[in-house]
């Protein structure tokens, strides 16, 4: 246990170091980048990714994967934006509850199919991701909901400053705190790890593996639903292709943060740092003057590098347990 913990600690230290190096390199040429104000901006910009990556990490911990999170954002975001447009009198609280509830429902659909029918998560969410995004098109008819069609309250909330930080950032911070508590201090959180770490052992310990996966999907869906509102409100526009491809970013953040796709390994701190790492790069590219067209290739290269590093970490662990030559695989 100690070796694992120190390994993970190393991973987080490594990420902090990587983020710092990145910041130093950027600041060397563009001192304005590392002003507290700009860094707060970067954090704010990354908040949605952090939250969704945390939801994704819960799913990945249970040895599943949720490819439908971005489509969930598009569908819930479009729904609340259209409701806001069509029924301007609806209080914001109701809209947010609708976003949460709808996201939860969409996540529950995924989770239910995985739990009850034992269909592999990648197949289920591959299907639901096209269905959710398609439904966003059906309900909007392909039309956009623009800023002037949204109510001021709807647009203001994520931007409202509390103690100098926008609400969006505070929601992100709250999500991190809640995730730490959930992952390390609750039965469900530990069940996530147990399910992915060793499903057979988990069953013998009395953990319902299917139900745990279901709960992970519900969590991921609920977070995506909330982020659906935050996304359309922050960017002040809702259209079908909102957050297109964002599911890959959430997975990338998890992988960079040291979450093992084989399940059972990963920490909240790692995921948050992984997301921040991506966020810093995304925000730095235009500053350094690199065309945004580079971003995709760079994040691809980073994902590959991160997986290679993860795999090396896992291999070391295997050797310690076996004390023999690795099994030929």
């Amino acid at each position: 246990m100690n070796t694992i913990r120190s390994l993970l600690a190393r991973r987080e230290a490594l990420l902090v170091l990587a983020c710092l190096l990145l910041l130093v390199a950027i600041t060397a040429r563009f001192p304005a980048f590392s002003t507290p104000r700009n860094l707060a901006g970067v954090f704010n910009d990354t908040s949605i990714l952090i939250m969704m990556a945390l939801g994704q990490s819960a799913v990945i911990l249970t040895k599943s994967i949720d490819l439908s999170v971005a489509a969930n954002v598009a569908l819930t975001g479009m729904t609340v934006a259209m409701l806001n447009h069509l029924v301007p009198g609806l209080p914001l609280v109701v809209l947010i509850l609708i976003a949460l509830g709808m996201g939860m429902l969409l996540g529950a659909i995924n989770g239910f199919l995985v739990w009850w029918l034992d269909i592999p998560a990648i197949v289920v969410t591959l299907g639901t991701m096209t269905i959710f995004r398609g439904l966003a098109f059906v309900e909007s008819g392909g039309a956009w909901v623009n800023a002037h069609e949204m109510s001021p309250a709807f647009l203001e909330l994520p931007r409202t400053l509390i103690l100098g930080l926008p609400v969006l950032s505070w929601v992100g911070i709250l999500a991190i705190v809640l995730a730490v508590l959930l992952f390390t201090r609750t039965g469900v959180g530990r069940a996530f790890y147990a399910t992915g770490g060793n499903a057979v052992a988990a069953v013998y310990t009395g953990i319902d593996v299917g139900k745990t996966r279901f709960l992970a999907f519900v969590l991921s869906g609920t977070i995506s639903g909330l982020c659906g509102y935050l996304w359309v409100s922050r960017y002040a526009v809702a259209y079908v292709d909102v957050a297109s491809g964002f599911e890959l970013d959430t997975i990338a953040a998890c992988v960079i943060g040291g979450v093992s796709t084989i399940g059972g390994v990963g920490t909240v701190g790692g995921v948050v740092l992984g997301a921040l790492f991506l966020g810093i790069i995304k925000n730095a590219l235009p500053v350094i003057g690199i065309s945004p067209f580079w971003q995709m290739a760079i994040s691809g290269a980073i994902i590959i590098a991160a997986v290679v590093i993860n795999a090396r970490g896992e291999r070391v662990k295997g050797r310690i347990i076996l004390r023999r030559k690795e099994l030929p695989l």
């Binding site: 040895k63 599943s64 994967i65 199919l113 995985v114 029918l117 034992d118 269909i119 592999p120 998560a121 990648i122 197949v123 289920v124 591959l126 299907g127 639901t128 991701m129 096209t130 269905i131 995004r133 398609g134 439904l135 098109f137 059906v138 392909g142 499903a199 057979v200 069953v203 319902d208 593996v209 299917g210 079908v240 890959l248 997975i251 990338a252 992988v255 796709t261 084989i262 065309s291 067209f293 580079w294 971003q295 995709m296 290739a297 760079i298 994040s299 691809g300 290269a301 994902i303 590959i304 997986v307 290679v308 795999a311 291999r315 099994l327 030929p328 695989l329």
Partner: protein, 335 residues
Amino acid sequence: MSDQSAILSPRHIPDRLDGPFKRALKSWETLLLAVAIAIAIANSLASPYFLDPWNLSDATFNFTEKAIIALAMTFVIVTGEIDLSVASIIALASTAMGAAAEAGAGTPLLLLIGLGTGLCCGLFNGFLVARLGLPAIVATIGTMSLYRGIAYVVLGDQVYKNYPADFAVFGQGYAFWIFSIEFVTFLVLALIAGVVLHKTIFGRQVYAVGNNALAASFSGVKVRRIKFIVFLMTGVAAGLASVMLTSRLGSTRPSIAVGWELDAVTMAVLGGVGINGGTGNILGVVIAAFVMGLVTFGLGLLNVPGIVMSIFMGLMLILVIALPLVVQRINNRRR
């Protein structure tokens, strides 16, 4: 993923097996074929233009490129891996061909470059998964970003369209009558894939790796080599699909073939290939390709927008997998 049910319920062994005819009747391929026929009938009732041979011929263009990838994807999925980078390989190969065409390359060279780029991408995927032992989902999500990312770096918001006139033959030419070169290529490749997967030692080894990689390696199967080869196959298949698609469209943008990896996986899974590896056959995938082609084409005739079609695709993927399981559940409960 069925860890729990495997522990809690012992495997059900029937007293005697069904006869070959009954088994064939109950098989996945028969179900798919029935679905395909039902869709074809529904389509011909819904639109008078459906049964026109040239219309049907046009319809094949919608899915042959994807189906060619799905054939190779079948091998990858049977080994228990997955390749999500195929669509990005198309984009990269298309970009490479476009750049070569700008520089004045002729059609044979373009074909080579397209296939070669696919091969190189497949090599890299194979290296990551088979050599370094990375989980295929994440590794190919990484290369998916990387390959298309390179296409974006090269092209940005530009477009390559200076392809030589005779390059159009791959995507627009006809072999004979209504049979396009694309379609005939697909049929030939399907035949080859069927023979290789079902009638060769290599094919059996692919199944062995997917069923139990450890047992396979103890039986002398070179697991890493098999995995490496199947990734080469998807790479080359994607390269070929890229040649066809580029030739059909006559232009290259970095956003070419976005989302096709999902279609290829859907085709394979719809065709009865178990996503956990070890099961499935080429015939099912070929029928599934036709089912998907018929659905897209029929909905297209009814003026259904592409994104709504994707809802049908998603629903079909889940329903076709879920329904037999639901039926099985209900039967088990009754027993």
